[in-house]
């Protein structure tokens, strides 16, 4: 079941619905502004604390990363296990600031899109602007709703980390709010 974007909640809500396919082009990223709500369709990779630690270790050792950073969007999350017959369990965002100290090296390696919740450190905001990347907030605590946006999911790396493993997910009309835009403006 797919999630139907909410078009309006009150008569004065005339905000237009912005739908985008992933990966975003340079031009799409630079046209988005902090505070806009977008609905994404395409491929994302999940990664959180422990997966970041491992990716940084691989960068230090000169190894290849398990995900193609320049095309990948990283979704900070650790889903619940899927029920038999279901594709995925509850899959909302986790707090992004825990990844702040591990984010700049990934941006320098080509990462262009991150999705999580909450604010980012000044260092990350600066690096986002330098790399013309983008940080979006998903809606925390809406994991059942986000489950309806996932059309495919498979583990890619670090499966021993269970919920913290890296998964490739296909999303459809995934709602998120531009929170640090490619010029370094933030919503917070």
């Amino acid at each position: 079941m797919n999630y139907n974007p909410i078009k309006e909640t009150k008569q004065d809500d005339k905000e237009e619905v912005i739908r985008l396919n992933l990966p975003l082009t340079d031009r799409q990223r630079s046209s988005l502004q902090a505070g806009q709500m977008v609905y994404l369709t395409g491929t994302l990779y999940t990664a959180r604390d422990q997966a970041h630690l491992r990716m940084l270790q691989e960068i230090r050792e000169g190894k290849e990363l398990p995900i193609p950073l320049s095309e990948a969007g990283i979704y900070y999350c650790g889903p619940t296990p899927a029920r038999p017959g279901n594709l995925v369990g509850s899959i909302g965002p986790t707090t992004s600031s825990r990844m702040d100290k591990m984010t700049v090296p990934l941006l320098e390696k080509g990462l262009k899109l991150m999705i999580g919740k909450g604010k980012r450190s000044p260092e990350v905001v600066k690096a986002i602007a330098e790399q013309k990347a983008l940080y979006l907030s998903a809606i925390g605590g809406a994991g059942a709703l986000y489950a309806g946006c996932i059309t495919a999911m498979e583990p890619v790396a670090y499966e021993d980390l269970m919920a913290e493993a890296v998964y490739r997910i296909e999303v459809k009309d995934f709602p998120a709010v531009v929170s640090v835009d490619s010029s370094g403006n933030t919503i917070f």
């Binding site: 909450g118 604010k119 059942a144 709602p175």
Partner: protein, 279 residues
């Protein structure tokens, strides 16, 4: 004397964990609906509408409300005329948690603090047993996500800081937390006691029904004032800015030492998952 078999406790802990993970409580739903009608920003209203829809989806499809199905807190108030029989009560509680998290496809989030090795069944629960008069028994369960737990604070204020010091500390905690604890928040506050007592009161306060105020007239006024001032921070739903930053403020107090004024603030996300039942 009344006899309670601890297997009853195991079963009820399991039942409550499952119910709380999937079902938004009625008082929370009403509170979010009220928030939505009062919120003035477009994004804030979108967020609140999505949270309400999330609650419907979760219950219909038996998908957890939030992927962080939490650390489990279990409070058992036992009458002194109650005799427990069966397996050790601590083991019974943990068995209930183990069964719920395995059978309910909930996320196992408990790890060793140093090695980060997962315990694989979301145990141990944090268990508090309190003895009360009579032969009643009351079980309270809270599933607490760590996005909000991470943003809680305890401060040992000086007595001269007074009420204004308490208010400033609470507001600073909410402002610094921003969107991280998933506002709109339910804020539990413990004033007095000791460092640990204030923190325990702040957490236990989260069990109060939403909309209910402290029976203490002074605390009731302080709750109203803090809720108003928390909303005036304009942190807003998910930290995007807006009118609704707090849903409720619950304050508990306990006498403290003449040299101190401990204050604890426990922030709970909008996904408040707690319930109390009589056994």
């Amino acid at each position: 004397m009344r006899i309670i078999n601890t297997d009853l406790i195991r079963g009820k802990v399991k039942e409550l964990c499952l119910e709380l993970a999937y079902k938004m409580s009625d008082d929370l739903k009403a509170s979010l609906e009220r928030g939505r009608s009062q919120e003035c920003t477009y994004l804030g209203r979108q967020v609140l509408a999505m949270l309400l829809e999330n609650g419907e989806r979760a219950e219909e499809q038996q998908i957890p409300l939030c992927q962080d199905t939490g650390m489990v807190f279990v409070y058992l108030e036992l009458g002194q005329d109650v005799h427990l029989e069966g397996p050790f009560v601590g083991d019974a509680v943990n068995q209930g948690v183990r069964e719920a998290y395995e059978e309910g496809y909930l996320r196992k989030s408990m790890v060793d603090p140093i090695t980060r090795a997962n315990t694989k069944d979301n145990t141990p629960a944090q268990i508090q047993i309190e003895m009360v008069p009579g032969d009643g028994a009351r079980l309270s369960v809270l599933l607490k996500g760590f996005g909000s737990e991470n943003m809680g604070r305890v401060r040992m204020l000086t007595p001269s800081a007074g009420v204004e010091g308490i208010v400033d500390f609470v507001l600073d905690t909410v402002r610094e937390a921003g969107g991280n604890p998933c506002p709109p928040l339910v804020v539990g506050i413990g004033i007095g006691g000791s460092m640990d007592k204030s923190a325990a009161m702040a957490k236990k306060a989260l069990f109060r029904p939403l909309g209910e105020r402290s029976p203490d007239p002074f605390l009731k006024e302080l709750e109203n004032r803090l809720l108003r001032e928390i909303n005036e921070t304009h942190v807003g739903p998910m930290g995007f800015g807006g009118e609704i930053t707090g849903l409720e403020v619950f304050i508990e107090k306990f006498p403290t030492h003449l040299a101190g004024l401990p204050v604890a603030v426990n922030l709970n996300c909008h996904s408040l998952r707690r319930k109390t039942i009589e056994l």
